[in-house]
């Protein structure tokens, strides 16, 4: 466990000295703020809820999380630092988990920054805290699943560009699974519907924490992390 935390610590440190984390955070907040300003400027008034904002947030995360995960393994594989990592007394899964936790920590910081909006709302209105909290939980689970997919994408290549493209591709695929299942006949439609990432979010934003949804995201992430570990392991055999 100590190795996992060591690696996570280094990744967090690396995030804060590289521009990408700041660029992503700034872009996210700028775009979100535009939506926020737009909604709150409606003369008919706006219900003090984050529902309108969680939507754009999920779409933004779909594109931005791969940019945060792209360097996690790809850069180490390109520069050769993976050689020192894999010849240290550290297990492969500890490497993957450590990097994953480092990325999650950054996502947590990112989401914390967006707490600004409910805060402002609470000054002017009476937001219902329950759905806001469960909404954030849903978003965090969703983002961590995207992070797991991004880490997996980063593990199969030495190029950060390829990693971000694969990550994006995977994210978009699992996003549109919902729509695909409408086009496809049985039994495939059930398969696609089950894989879809989006339909599970409205429950969270409405205030419902369904353990099935929580388990879904956790299992999804676990599978992606497992594949990432296998990929790291397979590097040794080439």
């Amino acid at each position: 466990m100590r190795n996992v935390l060591t690696i996570a610590g280094r990744e967090i440190q690396a995030y804060f000295v590289s521009p990408i984390a700041y660029v992503v955070a700034a872009s996210l907040l700028i775009i979100m703020s535009v939506f926020f300003a737009w909604y709150t400027s409606d003369p008919r008034g706006m219900a003090a809820t984050m529902e309108y904002l969680f939507g754009p947030m999920t779409t933004l995360l779909l594109f931005m999380v791969p940019m945060l995960t792209m360097r996690l393994l790809a850069e180490e594989q390109r520069s050769g630092t993976i050689e020192l990592l894999l010849t240290s007394p550290v297990r492969d899964w500890e490497v993957v988990l450590g990097k994953y936790l480092g990325c999650l920590a950054l996502l947590l910081v990112l989401l914390t920054l967006t707490l600004y909006y409910p805060l402002v709302m609470s000054w002017f209105g009476n937001p219902d805290i329950g759905p806001i909290l469960s909404g954030y939980l849903g978003i965090f689970l969703f983002a961590s699943t995207l992070a797991a997919l991004g880490l997996m994408a980063s593990s199969v290549t030495q190029s950060q560009v390829v990693a971000v493209i694969i990550g994006l591709g995977l994210n978009i695929f699992f996003w549109i699974c919902e729509a695909v299942s409408d086009f496809v006949s049985a039994p495939l439609d059930v398969v696609f519907a089950a894989l879809a990432l989006r339909p599970r979010l409205p429950d969270f934003t409405a205030g419902i924490i369904d353990t099935r949804n929580v388990l879904f995201y956790l299992t999804f992430s676990a599978v992606a992390l497992f594949l990432a570990t296998r990929s790291v392991e397979s590097r040794r055999w080439r």
């Binding site: 050769g80 630092t81 050689e83 894999l86 010849t87 240290s88 007394p89 040794r236």
Partner: protein, 303 residues
């Protein structure tokens, strides 16, 4: 400390290592010599657990590098050929991070010791990305030392350094050799005869020779070589020299004079001098010509 038995490595159809066996005892400094592509880096990567062998076994301090990989890795300090470092970290931060990964308990002390041993004290808080190649190499060495491993595996530790830096690194390795078991790979020959007590020569995936530098030179040398310079017409000189008893081989030297090989054990010098002067020629120079490790190496790897 290091035991390699019948190590074989194949990448698809290509055999990188073929039935490689050797051992390195505790406290030895062994040089791993070979041309590029001979299999040195592959062997080191197998020893450090980075990749598995296709067949054969390797043990570090008694631990099998495949089945007890973690235990073996704990006892190894490795410096890869590319000296890969995290450029955004400071030297001290990086060494501390590596110390933590290797399970070092008294980190501050260990890092200080490593910094001192590699003379990095005044650069401890510099960002690695800003260091020159020589300093980067030292950081690489420092990270290999920070957990005080029993075994040091260094892949081309002086490549790309300027002559002054090379001397410093060699001196450092010599010092380290006193308390650690070291295996270093190189294709810089003088290095090997200066630092290593034993040399293993590898070519195209197989070991072609293994011995101390002196023994190797003697083995391939095949006898005493002398450089003789005289003022005499070539044909006559060659004929006379070849007729001397115990002279095995004569050939013209590169720019002047002749290289005379004497049978092992015999001393032809007096007779050579006598014959040259006796023929009325001037004996300009006669000196022993040791075979360099270079010649040994070339001879063993090109036949």
């Amino acid at each position: 400390m290091i035991e390699v038995k019948h190590l074989t490595k194949q990448y698809g159809g290509f055999t990188a290592l073929h039935d490689v066996s050797f051992h390195v005892g505790k406290g030895e400094v062994v040089g791993f010599l070979g041309p590029n592509g001979a299999g040195k880096t592959t062997t080191m990567r197998i020893l450090t657990g980075f990749m598995p062998a296709s067949s054969g076994t390797a043990r570090i301090a008694g631990y099998d590098v495949f089945y007890d990989s973690l235990e073996a890795r704990r006892r190894i300090g490795y410096l890869p050929e590319t000296v890969p470092l995290y450029n955004e970290m400071t030297v001290r931060g990086y060494l501390s991070h590596m110390a933590r990964l290797r399970g070092v308990t008294r980190r501050k002390e260990a890092v200080s010791r490593a910094l001192e041993a590699t003379h990095l004290g005044d650069r401890a808080d510099t960002i690695i990305g800003k260091l020159s190649k020589g300093y980067r190499q030292r950081v690489g060495l420092a990270q290999a030392l920070v957990h005080d491993p029993d075994v040091l595996i260094l892949d081309e530790p002086t490549i790309g350094l300027d002559p002054k830096q090379i001397l410093e690194v060699r001196e450092l390795i010599r010092e380290l050799g006193r308390d650690h078991t070291v295996i270093l790979s190189t294709h810089i020959l003088p290095e090997v005869s200066q630092i290593c007590g034993r040399v293993i020569i590898i070519n195209e995936g197989s070991i072609v020779a293994e011995d101390s530098p002196e023994n190797l030179v003697a083995m391939v040398g095949g006898g005493e070589r002398l450089f003789v310079d005289l003022d005499a017409p070539r044909e006559a000189a060659l004929k006379t020299l070849r007729e001397i008893p115990h002279v095995v081989h004569v050939e013209p030297g590169r720019q002047r004079g002749y290289e005379v090989t004497c049978a092992a054990g015999a001393d032809c010098r007096a007779e050579i001098a006598r014959r040259i002067v006796g023929s009325g020629w001037g004996l300009l120079e006669m000196r022993p010509m040791g075979l360099s490790l270079e010649d040994v190496f070339l001879k063993l790897t090109t036949e």
